[in-house]
């Protein structure tokens, strides 16, 4: 990968998050990206609206959703966040509901995030979501996500 994930990929994990519905769950995850400065509020809004417009295709596997929008929707930096929900929510997905882990990511330009996504895909196939569900604290959850970033950096 030619991209350098500078000492900056903003990473935040939260556990035991309460969300009344799928939109609140997506907001909870994207808000972490907003707070860390990785994206604007507009990006966070777009993540929710994309699901309203296109349907729940972001539920990529049973129990797991991956919220994202396009770089031009307001992504300032590479960011990865995730929330583990206290109670699962339904996105209305045909086969993968209910969801209890929502990831959110951002990338400032199209090529920059391929490495991050590759690393995340590998980690997810490797059981990241289950490890995330077992995290007892926000710190432990954040460390798990940091592992995804470190893995990506090592492989370059």
């Amino acid at each position: 990968m030619a991209v350098s994930v500078e000492a900056g990929t903003r990473v935040t994990g939260r556990v035991n998050v309460h969300a009344a519905d799928w939109a609140a769950a997506v907001r909870a995850a994207t808000q972490l990206l907003v707070t860390s400065g990785a994206v604007s509020e507009r990006y966070a809004d777009r993540c929710v609206n994309i699901v309203r417009e296109q349907g729940p295709y972001i539920v990529i596997a049973p129990g797991i959703a991956l919220a994202h929008a396009r770089p031009e929707d307001g992504a300032h930096a590479l960011g990865l966040a995730a929330v583990c929900l206290a109670e699962p929510v339904r996105f209305g997905h045909q086969t993968n509901d209910p969801v209890d882990v929502v990831f959110a990511f951002s990338s400032p330009e199209p090529d920059a995030h391929v490495g991050l996504i590759a690393s995340l895909a590998r980690a997810l196939a490797d059981g990241l979501a289950d490890r995330f569900r077992l995290a007892a604290t926000d710190e432990a959850a954040t460390l798990l996500l940091q592992g995804v970033i470190n893995d990506e950096q090592q492989l370059r």
Binding site: G55, I64, A125
Partner: protein, 105 residues
């Protein structure tokens, strides 16, 4: 077919989703792993549904809500709902390859 797809030349594969840079990329990663395991040459591109309409492909991979419109239009359509499960994807890709006339060794 001059060369054999997947053997002499790349199988052209598109993974599709709504935005074209998140979920379709994850599908692409998983599909590439599967093709590598199967020893099949494939050029896998991740794209969004509207771009896919204008692109040539031998195989399309996506969720039901996105693949429906491509049914019966040429490419073999693979519908998956779990983007990180290599086993599900391998089984479906193999079924799709059979539909393309592929004979497994």
């Amino acid at each position: 077919m001059s060369g054999r797809k997947g053997v002499d030349e790349d199988l052209e594969v598109l993974t599709i989703c709504g935005v074209g840079m998140g979920t379709s990329l994850i599908m692409r990663m998983t599909a590439e792993e599967v093709f590598k395991q199967l020893g099949i040459r494939a050029h896998v591109q991740a794209t969004d549904v509207s771009s896919a309409r204008g692109m040539h492909a031998d195989m399309l991979i996506g969720q039901a809500m996105h693949t429906e419109e491509f049914m019966g239009r040429g490419p073999v359509v693979i519908t998956v709902e779990n983007f990180i499960d290599k086993n599900e994807m391998r089984a479906k890709i193999l079924a799709g390859l059979e539909a393309l006339g592929w004979q497994s060794a």
